[in-house]
Symmetry: C3
Subunit: 233 residues, 3 copies
């Protein structure tokens, strides 16, 4: 049962093709996770121009009960909240990102990613002219469940879906966050242009801490392969 030279070359060609695809997938995972991490470093410094560039032209951004569409939507959202552009003396917006779970589709043209953030934000006591909606010092934690798209070989944000898990004033901690209250950004109730910084569409209002919900996972249980049915409450 020895293979001929021809058969061995064919077999090598198949294997090399296969390896090339698998390697490409690992490179895609690297690109997507670093794309998302770069987003975080830009957010730290309110570099909103850089951030809008990371989105696909036909992106969808879900945030606080609103859906923002395309670059125009992205531009209203980023910077719209605070009016800032670039780092500001005395203002802190640290976006610590991690726990990345990136899965690339078989055709390597889209990917899904779950990440979390743990933020430290606020305004230094010496700064007296900060926008009024930013608390002096606060924590925020949240989960992203995003879709990424590869366009001309470059990975971009396609569906951006950030879900605040909890927020808390530094002085009070998470046990004392006012129920239903939110810091900085209230859930959207009006669309653009009625709200000049508003979303294109209203979606489901977010359920905020002390409510406790599961942001749906884009993957099944990695051992059983079964998709989660959230436990009854």
């Amino acid at each position: 049962m020895t293979m001929t030279a021809e058969e061995r070359i064919q077999s090598l060609e198949r294997k090399v093709e296969e390896l090339s695809g698998e390697l490409g997938m690992l490179k895609d995972i690297h690109s997507v996770r670093t794309l998302h991490f770069k987003y975080g470093y830009y957010m730290d410094k309110c570099l909103f121009g850089e951030i809008v560039d990371l989105f696909s032209d036909n992106c969808e951004i879900y945030f606080m009960g609103g859906l923002f569409r395309g670059k125009a939507g992205a531009r209203r959202l980023y910077g719209g909240t605070t009016g800032l552009n670039g780092p500001v003396h005395g203002m802190l917006f640290e976006h610590l990102l991690g726990q990345d779970i990136v899965d690339v589709a078989a055709d390597r043209m889209t990917a899904q990613g779950r990440f979390r953030t743990f933020m430290q934000g606020g305004v230094h006591a010496s700064k007296t002219d900060a926008p009024p909606n930013i608390p002096a010092q606060f924590w925020e934690a949240g989960v992203y469940e995003n879709i990424y798209t590869k366009e001309d070989g470059i990975w971009k944000f396609k569906v951006f879906n950030y879900n605040v898990s909890w927020q808390a004033l530094y002085e009070h901690g998470w046990a004392h966050t006012p129920a239903g209250g939110t810091l900085m950004v209230k859930p959207y109730t009006k669309t653009y242009p009625a709200d000049p910084k508003g979303p294109d569409q209203l979606t489901v209002p977010p359920r905020l801490w002390p409510d406790n919900t599961i942001v749906p996972f884009h993957y099944p249980n990695p051992v059983t392969g079964k998709w989660l049915k959230p436990p009854a409450k």
Copy 2:
């Protein structure tokens, strides 16, 4: 010294085999780190059924001076602490995980991994019926040094070894954690079934903050290749 076609094909076959193994190892690293990260997301939401599924049938779980064996042990531990299953309004158990160092064995059937967690936990002030052993708001940090096993191509937890580094009440901070005290879970002093939620075996009691110990590294110094001998105290 030109190689014949036969020699070149042989050389290609060897190299492709080698690349395939190295690539497989990178894929294994990806699987193990995302397995561990998925564990963290499940822990956030008390999805204990999902978690028990991540363990090998003959797993060993080391926690707070106890050793839990197999699925039965895992079931007593997860959920046993709080009796919860699924996210609960007003209860927070955030498991931020990262700093993964995963090393896969040459045969690619086992792997070792070091991770850390930084947790935010507690109970919202509005919730009056929480289990009594959960502080209103607390921090916890810890280090995992685990062994993973691949069974039928699927990575699972084999030896789970979580070590609390420090805990602190939010109001007091880590400088004021009572010496020898622990939050939520006390070191085990009785085995199952005498303790219905207890371990199968007692091990070395944990040394807790303000004690300061090194969870042994599964790897040598990456530059010198020498294994750490902890400094004398």
Copy 3:
């Protein structure tokens, strides 16, 4: 246009060579990120001997307005700050590291890496003999922009550039950090040997919170490929 066996073998040789290089790059990324993460675990426990071993003989370490050169410089810096070596009962120096962005040069002999840290440090209330310059409990956050070098196949720190983003006492939070003040380590004003633990050279004094600056990125915008020009202030 069918290829001859010779042409197919040549094509395979080229592709395998290419795959080997790309795979090597992913392995390099893994080595660099875990090198940096291992540094963090050593820092947790003041394992300064292990840390100095991670540096290239001709390393450059930038910290707090000082430049430390080579192993001798590294030895003055690590351990010099506190005089410690190994974990100490009652002292906490947690270095949570993540958000790694590692880019390997085409020749695979150097790499650049951006990481961030979020630290919890301090001294337990029961410990009365701690060095006087360590606050009881504090937060620190910072960004690394490093260069790594591969020597004899082993990745090491070549240029180590750690930038404190902000520090805060636990009791006060980041809104109330004294302007221009620093915890533990003051910006250097004298070189070695006038300052026995000082740097070889003074550099630009660090701009500290509530100042808010951008640690330059080692990469362009991943979508546009354009390098950031920081916004005017």
